[in-house]
């Protein structure tokens, strides 16, 4: 397996990083999160103008047609800059979901060009996430839920006139809502065994998107912590000169660098459609979640009481990390998937076999 990225992939990541550094500074995000809708049309339009909203949209529909590996670098950047995750759900996960449903041709024609140019937003309801991220601004909601007989169905619900009950999250940047318990039969797009396959693929792709964001968030928490301990003085010197403080942040970088290769390998597996992709994605989400929790725990520790305040940016990154870690399958779910795969009868084990 080759872990190097192409020059184009690296250039894309770097340009997105530069763009977000300039246009999505923490002060701006803080301001946006205090508004009632929690979103800025202006920022969204700028992101769309960079082509980020159209990365997965096929060229025929006005996008760039990139895949999972490209997206993984992008989600790291989106996490690093704490851009609300629904961008990933709309432009990556939902776009891929629409692309994989043969019956969704008309919906693709209607919505994908608008996703690409930033004028439409698609949200996803999934059994793993009963609360829908950014449902309040969704033009279209793809809802995967159990029908009368308990089997999963795929609904395509227009946002126009739809009742949504808002849920307040501890993360001010996250806007959640529940859809009505009953959806009209006319919104049903697909039934049958195929929906389960779609649901699994959607969960895998979304969990990978979350894992990328968690790695980015961990990196950001590490960076702000390294900056802080170089500036903050106690006992007459920067606290970063004390071993106890150094070791905390050395532990964080260790976690991050052990999450990255696992994340990249999972992205490759998903893009190639490898047989073990689901379990590799679970591993990636667990490793990324572990890195992010560690970065939050050590980050707040080295920030001292300042890290427990609203004013210091660290809290925005910590809260996003905590809530994302529980989204698209919590720790228990992904650990169980890993365990079942390793311990099942006939699981391939040993050199060049275990989890490969």
């Amino acid at each position: 397996m080759d872990f190097t990225f192409t020059e184009e992939q690296v250039a894309l990541r770097d340009s997105i990083n530069r763009f977000l550094m300039k246009e999505a500074a923490p002060e701006l995000l803080r301001e946006i999160s205090e508004t009632s809708g929690g979103r800025s049309r202006e920022l969204h339009a700028k992101i769309a103008a960079q082509g980020i909203t159209g990365l997965s949209v096929p060229e025929a529909h006005g996008g760039v047609g990139l895949g999972d590996i490209d997206w993984t670098l992008v989600t790291e950047e989106l996490g690093y800059h704490a851009i609300p995750d629904s961008l990933v759900e709309s432009s990556y996960v939902a776009t891929a979901l629409l692309g994989s449903v043969p019956e969704a041709g008309a919906l693709r024609e209607q919505w994908l060009p608008r996703v690409a140019d930033g004028t439409a937003h698609i949200s996803i309801e999934h059994p793993a996430n009963p609360c829908v991220a950014d449902a309040h601004l969704a033009d279209l909601i793809l809802a995967i839920r159990a029908g009368k007989d308990g089997a999963l169905e795929l609904h395509a619900v227009s946002g126009t006139g739809l009742q949504r009950s808002t849920q307040v999250s501890i993360d001010a940047s996250r806007r959640l809502a529940m859809l009505p318990q009953k959806l009209a039969a006319s919104t049903r797009l697909l039934t049958g065994a195929g929906v389960q396959t779609l649901a699994d693929a959607t969960l895998d792709r979304a969990a990978l998107g979350v894992a990328g964001q968690l790695v980015g968030l961990a990196q950001r928490m590490l960076d702000v912590s390294v900056d802080y301990v170089a500036q903050r003085k106690q006992f007459g010197k920067p606290i970063g000169s004390f071993q106890a403080v150094k070791h905390h942040l050395a532990d964080v970088v260790t976690k991050i660098e052990f999450a990255r290769p696992v994340l990249y390998r999972a992205a490759l597996a998903l893009q190639r459609g490898d047989r073990h992709r689901a379990v590799l994605i679970s591993h990636a989400k667990l490793a990324a979640g572990d890195a992010a929790w560690t970065a939050a725990r050590k980050g707040i520790q080295v920030h001292g009481a300042c890290g427990y305040t609203w004013e210091v940016d660290l809290q925005m990154y910590m809260k996003r990390a905590w809530v994302l870690d529980a989204a698209w399958g919590d720790r228990g779910f992904h650990k169980a998937r890993l365990g079942h795969e390793l311990l099942r009868d006939g699981a391939p084990l040993g050199p060049a076999a275990t989890l490969q």
Binding site: R174, F242, I300, Q301, Y308, T309, W322, A326, G332
Partner: protein, 388 residues
């Protein structure tokens, strides 16, 4: 530990049941000012109800108006208080930190002036230790105090001051000898908070609430007689007060942890987390460590009681804060994992609400009252005698 206090236990339970009702129903199970709906005015009336019931200062000597109850009975009180849903105490800084320090270092006049207000729940205290540049490095205090006629005049800033906005008085560590360094030349002053020379600005926490504050002193005044201990020996007094922080006041906290543990197990059983083998192991481990914590707290307190003060702090006392704070921080993580995707959402279920609160609040446990790093230094240097 073997004495039979069943009658005493029943007495407390009955009193709590009789009094924690009516207007106080709304603060049942509240952990403190950070809880939505914990009205400070109500909390103060509750303190006064406790005082009338004889439940404030139960361990204080009789000469100071206390009941001089033995340790075992104090333990029983804290257990029953929490079991009945008694809310977090607003008066504990005065009752468990300042009062013992007043008894040890205060003049007769100071004791007579301040102990009755604490005992009656009519005067509340804040702790003026930390400053922007004196956190872990507490001896780097910059706040200045000078005697002017028959008054102390104070200039400077304190921070992370819990409940200052709801308190009447603050005890302040200040530098009274210009040019003095570190632990020398400090004084502990008792200063009224409600005066023109004091400004209080709340600090917003990650939870969105504000329990602590910045306190600014700009020519603030207090009577020239209101230094606790001799001027110049403020460090000794300040450290003695922190020693009381390790004392009986930990019992209420301990009982609170046990309540949180019960809460977590209840939620885990209801939402299915308790069926997960990994979760079961973590819950069992957390419960076992909590039990060890309780045993250690009781052992330390029993030693203190037997020695009746004046003995050096034992090594098992030094480890207590480090162990409980890390236990609780990890418990908060466990709570978030038990709640799963619901962790970030508000909830009508009071048990889940409680866990969510513990999860966020416990992020600060390894930081306040001496960070992990300071605690480990203390263990290494004082308990093990390693070189500084």
């Amino acid at each position: 530990m073997t004495a039979d206090y069943e009658a005493f236990r029943a007495e407390i339970a009955a009193w709590m049941q009789q009094h924690l009702r009516g207007e106080f129903e709304s603060i049942r199970n509240c952990s403190g000012l950070g809880d939505a709906g914990y009205d400070p005015k109500l909390a103060k009336r509750w303190e006064q109800a406790l005082a009338r019931g004889g439940w404030v200062g139960i361990g204080w000597p009789k000469e100071h108006g206390g009941r001089a109850l033995p340790l075992a009975q104090q333990v029983v009180f804290h257990e029953e208080y929490v079991r009945a849903g008694g809310p977090g105490r607003l008066g504990h800084i005065g009752e468990t930190l300042l009062a013992p320090t007043l008894m040890a270092f205060g003049t007769r006049e100071q004791q007579q002036r301040f102990l009755p207000g604490i005992l009656a729940g009519t005067e509340y205290w804040a702790q003026g230790y930390s400053e922007p540049n004196a956190g872990s490095d507490l001896a780097n205090v910059q706040t200045r105090a000078r005697l002017e006629g028959d008054s102390w005049v104070i200039d400077g800033q304190k921070t992370w001051t819990s409940w200052a906005h709801e308190s009447d008085w603050i005890f302040v560590v200040a530098r009274c000898e210009p040019g003095s360094q570190r632990h020398k030349g400090l004084v502990m002053l008792l200063v009224p908070l409600r005066q023109a020379g004091v400004a209080i600005r709340p600090i917003r926490q990650i939870t969105g609430d504000s329990e602590f504050n910045e306190v600014f002193f700009d020519g603030a005044r207090t009577a020239g007689s209101l230094h606790l201990g001799a001027p110049g020996e403020g460090w000794k007094v300040a450290m003695a007060l922190l020693g009381f922080e390790r004392g009986v006041s930990t019992l209420g906290q301990q009982a609170g942890f046990e309540r949180e543990m019960a809460c977590l197990i209840d939620v885990a059983r209801r939402n299915g987390a308790a069926r997960d083998p990994d979760m079961r192991q973590r819950i069992a481990q957390a419960a076992a460590t909590l039990d060890a914590l309780r045993c250690n707290a009781l052992r330390v307190l029993a030693q203190d009681e037997a020695a009746s003060g004046g003995v050096p702090v034992s090594r098992e006392a030094y480890i207590a804060k480090y162990v409980w704070s890390n236990w609780r921080r990890d418990f908060g993580r466990l709570a978030a994992d038990v709640l799963g995707a619901a962790a970030c959402l508000p909830d009508d279920d009071p048990m889940a609400q409680k866990l969510r609160q513990v999860w966020l609040f416990s992020r600060s446990d390894t930081i306040y009252a001496g960070t992990n790093e300071i605690q480990l230094n203390l263990i290494a240097e004082r308990a093990l005698g390693m070189p500084r």
